[in-house]
């Protein structure tokens, strides 16, 4: 085979394919039209066969590299996913109305495992502090020990540091949820890459929460604790658990794919991960906004019973949203 003749006879087709692909990158598929797409597919197949021919005839790296690149571009266009297009608004509505709850129910085993790990941690932390309050110092990060729970409650009730305007609440809320989303992404990543790391971080977060709750209980200010942590905690803590559970789902696909190949197991887990992570992020945004405003209200503004009641209601709403079947579900 004469390579130079081969190149000069095929070059027009390759260039045509290049041009078509460049156009296809820029304009949507419907604008490209059936004719041009058929032409593109035809040229792509020709280029594939040219690549095979060239491989058997020459080791010329520039030619092979060029054809490999061109064929890869064509391959990416011809075999790209896509599927049905929905109007964006409808897609978002369906996603949050159906796909997010469906994913949580599909992965309920690992969601339960994550929640159980977290609760176990909380129980351990709580019991350890009740057993001996000095354990609290080992379990809870040192920055929480600038004052005793009772002193803290007294200071806050005197309203020395207040979040009293919508603006402050918004600012505080935004800082909170961006931070929380980052933390939950970390929990997700750890679980996904190591499985055990995911369980550990859930357990540890549970221990800290349990220990702090124990310390407030020992100081006799448990109602305050429930009223100040409850309203956002009812959403925030489940969201962290959900992100951790998503990490476990990913970790199982990565390390325990069973009879599937690792790539296939990961691809099968992707819709769940997508829905669980976005669901957790949404919940964290709502929780952050509550934490920045409602959670910060003192007993003078809102009776604590109301705050605790609101916390219970929010948690119930979350459980109903995620785990109760609904009408119109596909």
């Amino acid at each position: 085979m004469d390579i130079e003749r081969f190149i000069s006879s095929r070059r027009p087709q390759w260039q045509q394919l290049e041009e078509l692909l460049a156009t296809a990158d820029k304009v949507p598929e419907w604008e490209l039209g059936a004719e041009r797409i058929q032409e593109l597919v035809r040229l792509y197949r020709l280029t594939c066969s040219d690549l095979n021919q060239a491989r058997s005839a020459t080791a010329n790296p520039a030619l092979l590299g060029y054809l490999n690149e061109l064929a890869a571009r064509g391959y990416r266009f011809v075999y790209r996913g896509g599927g049905r297009r929905q109007p964006a608004g409808e897609a978002v509505r369906r996603f949050f109305a159906f796909e997010v709850p469906a994913a949580f129910r599909r992965e309920r085993r690992l969601v339960l495992a994550a929640a159980a790990t977290f609760l176990l941690g909380a129980a351990v932390g709580f019991a350890a502090v009740l057993e001996d309050p000095r354990n609290g110092r080992d379990l809870v990060p040192a920055q929480f020990f600038t004052e005793s729970p009772r002193e803290r409650v007294a200071r806050i009730e005197r309203e020395e540091e207040r979040i009293d305007t919508v603006e402050k609440a918004l600012y505080f809320g935004a800082s909170l949820y961006t931070h929380n989303i980052k933390v939950s992404l970390l929990a997700f990543s750890l679980g996904a890459l190591t499985i055990l790391g995911g369980y550990w971080i859930l357990f540890y977060n549970g221990v800290v929460l349990g220990a702090v709750a124990g310390l407030y209980l020992l100081d006799g200010v448990q109602l305050f604790f429930l009223a100040w942590v409850g309203p956002h905690g009812a959403l925030e803590l489940p969201a962290i658990v959900f992100a951790g559970a998503a990490g476990l789902v990913a970790g199982h696909a990565l390390w325990l794919p069973g009879r599937l190949s690792r790539g296939a197991a990961l691809r099968r887990a992707l819709p769940s991960l997508w829905a669980m992570l976005l669901g957790a992020a949404l919940i964290l945004v709502v929780a952050g906004l509550i934490e920045g405003s409602f959670s910060q209200m003192t007993a003078k503004a809102v009776p604590y019973a109301l705050k605790v009641g609101a916390a219970a209601a929010l948690f119930a709403a979350l459980v109903v949203y995620l785990f109760a079947a609904r009408r119109g579900e596909p």
């Binding site: 594939c48 790296p61 060029y66 600012y171 990565l254």
Partner: protein, 255 residues
């Protein structure tokens, strides 16, 4: 086989053609990330300036939210809607593709970027960089999870004899006898091979290049009956290639 070759991932298309994906190296990925970080920083600064006119709390809340969204959505958007290339990657000729050589889906891109939080630790992609170095296909943890690869696209280098450079002044192969043997014994495939060898010689490591040139030279010493002991393997190969591809000595039998 160079190291880059061994690392490449081969994808078999339905047409039964092997496409080769060459994983990008750590350095080029790092540079691309720097560019992207700069772009995100610039946009964030512009955003902050634009929102400064709003009342303090609302402006701040919006700025925090939007810069957060920008930081994460930047990668997602470019990976899915711009064929796997952020501005940094485009600049460096990199592209994120899925393990089968296809474009990323939104779901894959999210999984890949969610792990960015871990890859970024402890400072600017320490974990990701270490993972990159350990992995055969230079994947960071996010790539591992989403089954994606960052590939280096081939730059379109014209492989022409012009790139051979000036031939040596005295070419001892230019005798009637050797020219006749070249015409009869060196086929087209070999001609291509010699050209490719000469053009890529500079990219080879010194000792590997010496060994290879000596080995190839020895074969042609026999084939062409050359017994000049002072002609090194590399010079022999280069002289031979110069004859094969020089215009004045076009060998009619080969056209």
């Amino acid at each position: 086989m160079s190291a880059a070759r061994r690392r490449e991932r081969v994808v078999l298309t339905p047409e039964h053609v092997e496409l080769r994906l060459v994983p990008a190296g750590l350095a080029s990925r790092f540079l691309a990330l720097l560019v992207d970080a700069g772009v995100i920083l610039a946009f964030t600064a512009m955003l902050a300036a634009a929102l400064a006119r709003l009342p303090w709390g609302i402006g701040q809340a919006l700025a925090i939210t939007l810069s957060f969204v920008l930081t994460w959505a930047y990668h997602l958007w470019f990976e899915v809607r711009q064929q796997g290339r952020t501005w940094g990657k485009r600049l460096l000729g990199l592209r994120v593709v899925d393990g089968h050589g296809l474009p990323l889906t939104w779901q894959q891109s999210l999984a890949r970027n969610a792990v960015r939080a871990l890859d970024f630790l402890p400072v600017f992609y320490g974990v990701g960089g270490a993972a990159c170095l350990l992995d055969r296909e230079r994947r960071r943890l996010g790539d591992l999870l989403a089954d994606t690869v960052v590939v280096q696209e081939a730059r379109a280098r014209p492989l022409s004899p012009a790139a051979l450079g000036r031939p040596r002044q005295f070419n001892s192969l230019r005798t009637r006898r050797v020219l006749r043997l070249i015409r009869h014994r060196i086929g087209l495939a070999e001609r291509e091979f010699l050209l490719a060898l000469c053009l890529r010689a500079d990219a080879l490591e010194e000792s590997a290049r010496y060994d290879l040139m000596e080995e190839v030279g020895a074969a042609y010493r026999v084939k062409l009956g050359i017994d000049d002991p002072h002609l090194s393997g590399e010079n022999l190969v280069r002289d031979l290639t110069a004859i094969l591809f020089s215009d004045e000595a076009r060998l009619p039998a080969l056209r």
